[in-house]
Structures are given as C-alpha cells and as structure tokens.
C-alpha cells in the first residue's frame, strides 16, 4: 500500500482554542478510513484543513508526496480531494442534473463528456430518475445522496464524507454502505461517522480523535480492543447504540 495523505503536527487555533492540536495522520491509498470521536473533538475542523476550507495555523499536509498546506481549496479539489458537507450544501434552486453537472465539469476532465459523467454519477447513487427535479424539492435522504453524487462526479482520488448517514433511514444506510464500497474500488474514502455499525462494517482503518488530538489509530479490531479508546469514547457510544 502507498501513502496517499499525511499530516505533520497539524494545528488549528480559533482564538485561544486549539481545535486541532498537533495531529500526525496517515492515510493509505485505497482504504476506507473512518474518523470517530465525541462531539467537539475537532473531526470536522481536521478534515476542513485537509480539503482547504480552513487554513492551518501550524504544521503541514502532504498529498501524494507533495505539500499542499498552502494550496487553496479549489486547487486541492482539482488535485483529487473531494469533500462533501456535513450540512447538506447543494444548489437547491437548480435541477439535480445541474448539480451533478457542475461537479462533473471541473477543469481537469475533458469538457465534452461532463454531462455524461454527471449522468453516470446520478445513476451510481440511484438519482437518475430525479435528474430534472429541483434539488431543493428532494427528500432529505435524497439530498444527502445527491451531495455524495457530486463528490463522485468529481472523480476524486480521496473522497471526504462528513457524517454522510446522518438523518438517513436504516434502509438508506444499508444502500449507502453498498455505494461506499463500490466507490472504494477507485477511490480512497475518509469518513467522519457517528454510527458505529456503519464504521465497523465499512472501515478498514479507524482513527479516534479527542480534544483536538489523535487518540488512536488502527483496524476496527484493534480499536475495539484499545482500552484507552474504550474508556474515553467507545463505551459510551456502544451504550447509546444499545439503548
């Protein structure tokens, strides 16, 4: 396996608060990597640093061996890092197809087949039938899926999904997991996820964050066995899930 992305002592400070407090992180090509941790652990801030929505205060980020710490977000997208928003951020006044097409026509790919690739992305996520609907009129679950479709249409090397299953029904979650596995055939996936069943069924690697720091990293089994994680985090989640 080759390394796709690494960070070195990555820090993000908001005023006096260290939201991300020096993280060394490695992502291998081809894996599905889940980022977990309690609310306010800095997960969203951390992936925002990776995709360029936020600028790092200190530290550095490498993607495919090149430093991208200073690179603006749109360039990172073109370099192959796609990000889907935690809060659905689609073009609600435009049609579903237009949403996908806007994502598909980014500059790295030939212009002519943008529409084709948009169609393909919609077919993959099962939204092809809604292509001419206004995106804002879709059901919530469909909007989440459209968000992912836009990520797919970018044909990235790394797809970052921020809590993609939030608000989805069990059936939708199941379909979603299948979709992620399919995407994973070409694309490395990094997802922030609270639903431990999803995490355990999808992830090959798990990183745990707490208070801006990386607590542990390993396979699902290793993480489940990790006493520190157990006490800090997993236990509570499991209880919640059981309840």
């Amino acid at each position: 396996m080759t390394t796709l992305l690494t960070t070195r002592q990555l820090v993000k400070r908001f005023g006096g608060l260290n939201a991300v407090a020096g993280v060394d992180f490695t992502l291998e090509k081809g894996e599905i990597h889940a980022l977990i941790g309690p609310n306010g652990a800095g997960k969203t801030t951390f992936v925002s640093l990776l995709c360029g929505r936020l600028e790092a205060t200190e530290g550095s980020i490498f993607f495919k061996g090149k430093e991208i710490t200073e690179m603006p977000a749109w360039k990172r997208v073109r370099a192959g890092i796609a990000y889907t928003f935690q809060i659905t951020s689609i073009y609600s006044n435009l049609t579903v197809f237009q949403n996908a097409a806007i994502a598909a026509q980014h500059a790295n790919k030939p212009a002519d087949d943008a529409e084709q690739r948009a169609k393909t992305a919609l077919e993959k996520v099962g939204l092809a039938a809604y292509a001419s609907h206004e995106a804002g009129s879709l059901a919530y679950g469909h909007q989440r899926v459209l968000e992912v479709a836009m990520g797919i249409a970018l044909e990235p090397e790394l797809l970052i999904l921020d809590e993609p299953t939030q608000g989805l029904s069990d059936l939708e979650i199941e379909q979603f997991c299948g979709l992620i596995r399919e995407i994973n055939q070409q694309t490395t996936v990094l997802l922030i996820e609270h639903n431990m069943q999803v995490v355990m069924s999808l992830a090959r690697q798990i990183s745990v964050m707490d208070q801006g720091l990386l607590l542990a990293q390993g396979t699902p089994d290793e993480i489940q066995a990790n006493a520190a994680v157990q006490s800090a985090y997993l236990g509570t989640i499991d209880e919640e899930n059981v309840a």
Binding site: C51, R53, P72, A73, W74, K75, V77, R78, Y83, F85, S89, I90, Y91, S92, N93, L94, Q98, A101, I102, A103, Q105, H106, A107, N108, A111, A114, M150, L154
Partner: protein
Amino acid sequence: MDSKNSQILSLGIHAAVVISFYALQYVLPEYHLLALTRIMLLAIFALGFNLLFGYTGLLSLGHAMFFAAGMYGAGLTVYHFGWSVPGAFLFGVVCGAILGFVIGMIALRTTGVAFMIVTLMFAKVSYLVIVYFTTYTRGDEGLVMPAEFRGFELLGMSISLTDSVTRYNLALLLLTLTMLIVFLLVRGRFGRALVAIRENESRTRMLGYNTFAIKLKVLTASAALSAMAGSAYALMFAYIGSSFATIQYSIDPLLYTLLGGAGTVLGPVFGTFSMFYLIDIASEYTSAYLLVTGIVLVLLILYFPKGVFGAIRQKYCRWLP
C-alpha cells in the same frame, strides 16, 4: 422539450427580437429612432450589468464607473488626440475592461452588501476624478466631440455618425453582438459555473472552481460591455459629461435588469425599453419624473423580484437563457 430543440427555439426568439429592431427603423419617426438608438446602447449597458448581477449574483452599485470609463476613454482620445472613431471605440472598451479588472481585484474580496457599498464608493471616486481633473474633462460641463471626428472609414465604407439611421444600425449591430456574447457565455460550461457561484459560492469552491478568478473574469467582461455602451454613446451622441458617472447611471441598469428579469438575456433589453419610455412619458407630466424610478424599484422588489422574463421563464419555459 429536449435541449436541442429548445436551443433552436431560444435562438429563434432572440433573432426575432433583433430582426424586429431592424425592421422598426423603416417605420419609426425620427424622434423614436433616436430614442431607440439610445435604448439599444443602454440595453448593452444593462446586459453587461446583468452578466454580473443576474448570472453571477454580484450586485454592483457602481456600474456607472465602467460606462464612464468607456465614455471618457473614447471621448478624451478623440477630443485631445484626434483619434479616429474605431480606435477610440476600442480604447474605451479596453479602459473599461482594465478598470473592471482592477476594481475586481479589490472589491471581489467582499460579497453581498459590502460588495454593493464598495462598488458604490469606487463609482463615487470615479465621478470625483472626472470633476477634479476638469482641465482635461471639463467636469460637469463636459466635452463635445468635434464634428470632423464624427466620420470614419471602415473596410472601404465611409460612415458618418451624424446620420441617425447609420447610428441606429450601428447600435443594433453592437446590441446583437452583445446579446450573442452573453448568450454564448451563459449557455455553456462557463455559464453553469456562474450560476453555481450565484447559488452557492462556497460549495462551488469545494467543487474545484477558482471562484475568485471566475468572478474576476465576469466582472471584467461585464465592465467591458458596460464600457462598450459608454464608448459607443460618447461617439454616437458626441457628448461626454460627468452626469453619466453619477449614481443615477449605476441605478439605471439595476432598474432595467430587475424590471426585465435578472439572469435572462432578453430581460435587460425589455427592461431598458420599457423604463426608457416610461420615464419619457412621465417627464411630459412632471419634472419629478424620477419618482417613477423610485416607485417602480419598490414595487419590483416587493412584488415582482424575478422581473418579466424571469417570471415567464419560471412559469412557461425554463430553457430561456
């Protein structure tokens, strides 16, 4: 309707508008020929404005500065250096484009209300610059293009801008050109990117678009079109003055666009036409004809924010560009 047919149809509608403008010159009395010449040039201005406002979602309150840049770029070179009409015209357009680029580099760091106020401020500065350098511009009084510079040779034809029919057709040519440019810009990939920025800029950035660069391009294009209108206005009507750089001339394209429908190609043309005549008629009844401007603005924003063609598009034909 499939996309190919709808494109042919919308091209057809736009062509019909151009053709009817062309045909009108044979029936219109002199006064309306003049009025329509003005309307066509102002419509170019509105189309330029709409490129930024309607398609990209950036509301500039300072577009008079671009109109004036074209006007003074063309007018001053004719007046002081005796440039011929085509050269001066192009120079005016270039002036507007450069100003648009420079203003864009600064103002596009802001969005929303801040962008409106920053552009308003820069337009005010431009007006003051014209008044301040009165030695060259003659400030309020303005300059009149000497008669000997009103004719030119182009491709073996000698063209005189003192002839009202010639002016009319030149204005129509420029309007057609502008509509074509806007049509092509907003239809394809670029247009889709503009709409994406209008609808959700941060999302668009996260889809790999350099939104700043795109906005800068659009602002430059918008300024160049506005300057083209100003440049043509100066050369055709042979007068340049600081009145054209006042806030009034920043509000007018907004008014035209809102009335006709932001984000449509025909909207600004229709809006300019209706508003021009509305004001012309109102001014026969009262000196306070700008009251109409105020009332129309308020009514539009309250009850009809999509404008005439915006509403038509929403209701009947979504494919209208």
